[in-house]
């Protein structure tokens, strides 16, 4: 399987995630999109690892997963807290940081 195919799949997934991040207003959906982008990156790294015969790409993917876990935990906690204040998870409404 040519490496390019994996890379293209990764790029596609990344673009999908990017679109979702901007187009969805639901905080949870946004987080899902972010996770998707992370996974796309993982796939790219893994394909590169395969291509160059090194394990380093896999290690990076491994750590990405770890960090993603941490990020999701904190992110969801924030979403819950914000949702408490605004009674909604609509990020468009939660523009408290404006100005």
């Amino acid at each position: 399987m040519p490496t390019t195919a994996y890379l293209l799949l990764g790029a596609l997934l990344f673009a999908l995630g990017a679109a979702g991040v901007v187009m969805r207003a639901n905080a949870l959906s946004m987080l899902v999109s972010v996770e998707l982008m992370l996974n796309a990156v993982n796939l790219t790294f893994v394909a590169a690892a395969k291509r160059f015969g090194e394990l380093d790409g896999v290690i990076v993917a491994f750590f990405v997963i770890a960090v993603a876990a941490a990020e999701v935990a904190v992110g969801l906690a924030i979403v819950i807290d914000v949702a408490r204040r605004h009674v909604s998870v609509d990020v468009d409404r939660a523009s408290d940081l404006s100005g």
């Binding site: 946004m30 468009d92 939660a94 523009s95 408290d96 404006s98 100005g99």
Partner: protein
């Protein structure tokens, strides 16, 4: 080097007074002020006595401006020594007088410092070897005039008069300076001896400077107002020395000036002399009569200088210095005695109470009226003689002489003769000795100087032209006598108006020129200045506002990025990433 001492001694006095005078008392101020001038007089005297001292003596202190012929150099030309003698001598006497006059004044430190500086500067004008030094002195005397006219700082009239004097002089100074630049551009030197014939334009510019400094028409308006200063100041600066600086300039430049300019000077002088004499006749203020009289007499000097009669002009200058200074100091004595009563209608009958003052004033008045044997007689004759071949000028000179006699007699009669016009006048007391001595000395000079010169006993350093034809001398003398008689007769009953009322009113107001200049000139200049100020301020304000508005608007634009909307943040984020990616891959550093 003695030459430079004459300038440096009073300058040192001024510096001493300025720096250390605060700790010294009033007497010390007077002593230093008078002493330094007296020493300077001594230096001039010694130079005169020295064999070889005379025209041609040159002394250079050192290089000054990086311009050709602009060193710190003094040179004695034909008029230098007589003038230096007169300046230092009269100044010393007046300084002595001032000690008494300002006995209760608190500003003596300023006064004597300015006085000393003035004498220094005047000597620069008289003795300067090049026009740069002369101009420096020119400006400095203007400064001292401003300081001294406004000596009584708390008087708004005095401050206004000082400013007026300075500003009007400035007009002439500007012309002078432009003339200097023209000379420099053309002749490449400022040394007086090597100027060669100057163009009409340059001569006119220099003449304008002389006109302003010497208070000739139309720049004479500052002199009557300058009477706000202390009387000794009026005597020294506005009678004997500074106002004669214009004449000095004309005399020293002499042959370098274009003939048209000299002719204009003579004509202007004649016109001024006549007009000012008429105005003097109508004045009711003691000092103002003398001020207008000065303007008139200097007009006569301009006639002499314009005709190239150096001896005549110089003679009259020195003679006038004596008798006008005497008159002014006498007036000061009167003011001192009557508690500053200056209105002649309220004076009178002082002859009995102020004997010495009366005698001195009479001597001065004789000089002014040009009655023999007073000095004024001889000097006026000299000018008339020079004007023999110019009928209009001659007529003006003679008529002015008659008018001078008229108002001199009127003044003397009103102030000293007849009944006392007011209580102050009745309670007058004679002045102290320190004032009377200089007064007397100058009075003697007023009487005797002319005879001495005419008799050849005193040399002025200039070759004496042919003496006046007897007919002229006789005619002049008769006119003077007639004038005196008429003036005395019409005034003795206390009537002070010798002119027909219409003319008298106009004359009293100086024929309206002052009002014209103040109204038209001064007001329009003030309006322009105000407009410029507001315009500048408004522009500045607007630009500041515009800058502020710009920043605010820019900030508002930037603020739109701080929307608080997460999604737009992300959109920008990703867009930026896309941009970077594009740049990277398309910019040559991407994958080949």
């Amino acid at each position: 080097m003695t030459l430079w001492l004459t300038v440096l001694l009073p300058l040192g006095g001024a510096a001493l007074l300025a720096l250390a005078g605060g700790r010294l008392g009033r007497r010390a101020h007077g002593a230093i002020g008078t002493g330094s001038i007296a020493l300077s007089f001594g230096a001039v005297l010694s130079m005169t006595a020295m064999a070889g001292a005379g025209p041609g003596v040159h002394a250079t202190l050192g290089p000054w401006l990086p311009l050709p012929g602009a060193d710190l150099a003094l040179a004695v030309d034909r008029s230098g020594l007589p003038l230096a003698l007169m300046v230092t001598g009269v100044s010393a006497l007046i300084a002595l007088y001032s000690i008494g006059y300002l006995a209760r004044d608190t500003g003596t430190q300023r006064y004597f410092a300015a006085l000393d500086l003035f004498v220094s500067a005047m000597l620069l004008i008289v003795l300067g070897a090049n026009l740069a030094v002369v101009f420096a002195g020119w400006e400095l005397v203007g400064l001292c005039s401003y300081l001294l006219i406004g000596h009584w700082r708390e008087r708004p009239a005095a401050a206004a008069a000082a400013v007026k004097a300075f500003v009007v002089n400035r007009v002439g100074d500007a012309a002078f300076l432009i003339g200097l630049f023209a000379i420099l551009a053309d002749r490449h030197t400022l040394a007086i001896g090597s100027l060669g014939p100057l163009s009409v334009a340059v001569s006119a510019l220099l003449l304008a400077g002389a006109v302003a400094k010497s208070a000739q028409f139309p720049l004479h308006v500052w002199l009557p107002d300058a009477m706000e200063g202390p009387t000794p100041v009026s005597a020294l600066i506005h009678a004997a020395t500074m106002v004669t600086a214009g004449v000095v300039l004309l005399l020293r430049l002499g042959s370098s000036l274009a003939p048209e300019a000299l002719g204009a000077a003579a004509a202007l002088g004649a016109l001024t002399a006549l007009g000012a004499a008429l105005v003097a006749l109508a004045q009711t203020d003691l000092k103002r009569v003398l001020a207008w009289s000065t303007i008139s007499q200097i007009g006569l000097m301009f006639v002499g200088a314009g005709l190239g009669a150096v001896f005549a002009a110089l003679f009259h200058l020195v003679a006038h210095a004596f008798f006008k200074a005497t008159l002014f100091l006498g007036a000061g004595s009167v003011l001192h005695a009557t508690g500053d009563e200056q209105d002649v209608r309220r004076l009178g009958g002082l002859a009995g109470r102020l004997r010495w003052t009366t005698a001195a004033f009479a001597a001065g008045a004789l000089g002014l009226a040009a009655l023999p044997p007073a000095s004024g007689f001889f000097s006026k004759e000299a000018i008339a003689t020079a004007a023999l071949d110019r009928p209009w000028l001659l007529a003006a000179v003679l008529l002015t002489g008659a008018l001078s006699a008229l108002y001199a007699a009127r003044l003397f009669t009103l102030v000293f003769l007849g009944p006392a016009g007011s209580e102050a006048s009745a309670a007058a007391h004679e002045s102290p000795l320190v004032m009377l001595v200089p007064l007397g000395a100058l009075g003697l000079g007023a009487l005797g100087f002319g005879a001495l010169v005419a008799g050849g006993a005193v040399a002025l350093g200039v070759p004496e032209p042919a003496s006046a034809p007897p007919a002229l001398a006789l005619g002049g003398g008769l006119l003077a006598a007639a004038g005196v008689a008429l003036g005395w007769w019409r005034s003795r009953s206390g009537g002070h108006g010798l002119l027909p009322p219409a003319l008298g009113h106009a004359a009293l107001a100086g024929f309206g020129l002052d009002a014209l200049l103040a109204g038209g000139g001064a007001r329009s200049v003030a309006a322009i200045a105000s407009a410029l100020e507001h315009g500048a301020e408004a522009t500045l304000q607007w630009s500041l506002d515009a800058a502020g508005r710009l920043v605010t608007r820019a900030g508002a634009q930037v603020q739109r990025a701080e929307s608080g909307f997460v999604r737009s943040y992300e959109a920008f984020l990703l867009a930026g990433a896309a941009l970077l990616l594009a740049l990277w891959s398309l910019g040559g550093t991407g994958p080949r």
